[in-house]
């Protein structure tokens, strides 16, 4: 499978808001911990190494 980069969420604004809400009231450290757990959970759910590597490459672009 290849990484989906077109919209794949039915109601994007609501889900984006849910992401922000999950971080509400957390310290920077707490947010970082939440993000790390979230990434691991989603990574396991996706399971496809090719898709995950493509996402890692895309996310890393422009950071180094």
């Amino acid at each position: 499978m290849t990484l989906k980069t077109d919209l794949n969420i039915a109601d994007p604004d609501t889900l984006y808001a849910a992401l922000l809400a999950a971080h509400k009231g957390l310290s920077a450290e707490g947010s970082a911990a939440l993000n790390a757990e979230l990434i691991l959970l989603l990574m396991n759910h996706v399971g496809d190494a090719e898709v995950i590597r493509a996402a890692l490459d895309l996310a890393r672009q422009g950071k180094v």
């Binding site: 970082a32 911990a33 790390a36 757990e37 990434i39 691991l40 959970l41 396991n44």
Partner: protein, 518 residues
Amino acid sequence: MPYDYKPFPYEAPPGLKHPEPRHRVVIVGAGPIGLAMALDLAGQGVASVLVDDNNVVSVGSRAICWSKRSLEILDRIGVGEQAVDMGVTWKVGRTYHRDEEVYSFDLLPEDGHKMPAFINLQQYHIEEMLVRRALEEPLVDLRFKNRVTAVEQTGDHVYVSIETPDGTYALNAEYLVACDGAKSPIRSMMGLDFEGELFEERFLIADIEMTAEMPAERWFWFEPTFHPGQSALLHKQPDNIYRIDLQLGWDADPDEERKPEKVIPRIRKVVGHDDFRLDWVSIYSFQCRRLAKFVHGRVIFAGDSAHVVSPFGARGGNGGLQDVDALGWRLAAVVEGRAAPAILDEYDRERVHGADENILNSSRTTRFMTPADGAERQFRDAVLSLAGKTGFARALVNGGRLSKPCVYPLPGAPDHPDLPEVSRPGAVAPDAPLGNGWLTEALGGRPVLLALGCAAPQIDGLEVLAPELTETLARRYLGAARQALYLVRPDQVVAGRWVEADAGAIAAALGAIWGGRA
């Protein structure tokens, strides 16, 4: 009871009085790897001189976890059963985060193997067994208190200068095998350096003697309440000795931390009482590094002199014994003129592969145990946190991935898709019961053609083993097929396999064993 470190006898070597004839092989370092090397060569009919600068076994438990593969190798050189009888057999490991168990593994869930998954046995016991075996073996010339001071090699031999309590002398040999440990003096004399990673972390390692009814399991803790924020490891050994490893952090002062008044309170917190005796303490940091090449002309490196790893995974001693396994039969064939020296490049290729696998696994464990600040620590902590609430994260908790025999890449080795993965070319031939004994006892030392469910073609110089087909043999060697032929190397590694083959194909694969890859 504490181990009695008795010195082994020193005898003035003949070279002090008159020049010795050229030897076939000189082995430097009579630790487990050097001793096993000498005994493995002896099993191949090759004499060696084994020199060591010391005359006692190593102090402290050091390498304690001996894998099934190591036990099979030790069995071939005559001490495997003795080691199992004396050792603590275990196969279950448990990993805790804080005080909750988050992960456990069973290393040998099936039976039908002569050797257990792991035993714990102090390195000094293994060394003593091997020394006793070496002293009764006429093909091993074991010389204590013989320290190598210089090495030189020419086109056809190695020249070694040796210092003894009675003076200095020289040895000539066709090959030198350096089994002189992580700080290898031979490596320094040759100006060779390790490449790889040094981890900035310190660990306290302690052997304690206590009477306790603890199960024979490996216990690993992340951030236990008895040792906050750090990791801890506990192993049960024979003689009521327990081994404890405690992470201390890079800032810990090694001289301070090894003092009993500092160590004892730490141990008291682990075991929960005072009823123990401190037997041995050491503070260590570690590296995951190796030599770029293990074969340097007529000087060959094996064991810690060639590669070092962190201790979490039992890959040091076990990796070294696999070096011996891959080298012995090849070196014997070279010095006896049965194979060209190029076959030693295959040792280099296979064991560099093995060392890289060990270094990779051990570095990953180390990184998990001692994450760098920032993302590394965030993900490590996230895994530990998730491990309490999800199954998948438990598999990511990495307190050591324990040594498994290396599966060598053997490109072009004959294979058949119907045959099971467990016995594929490059893998160690899996053990199985065989009559009153075991398959591993019938293999090894020389190439063998294993014929299962069919007749074997006749090939000059190739012994055939055609056991009665059992359910276990069929499962491990036939899979979906009804018959098969397996060519097994002297180190019990599968060199090729067929469902049907003519003599020519098998002879070609046999030639490849002795001549490098076809």
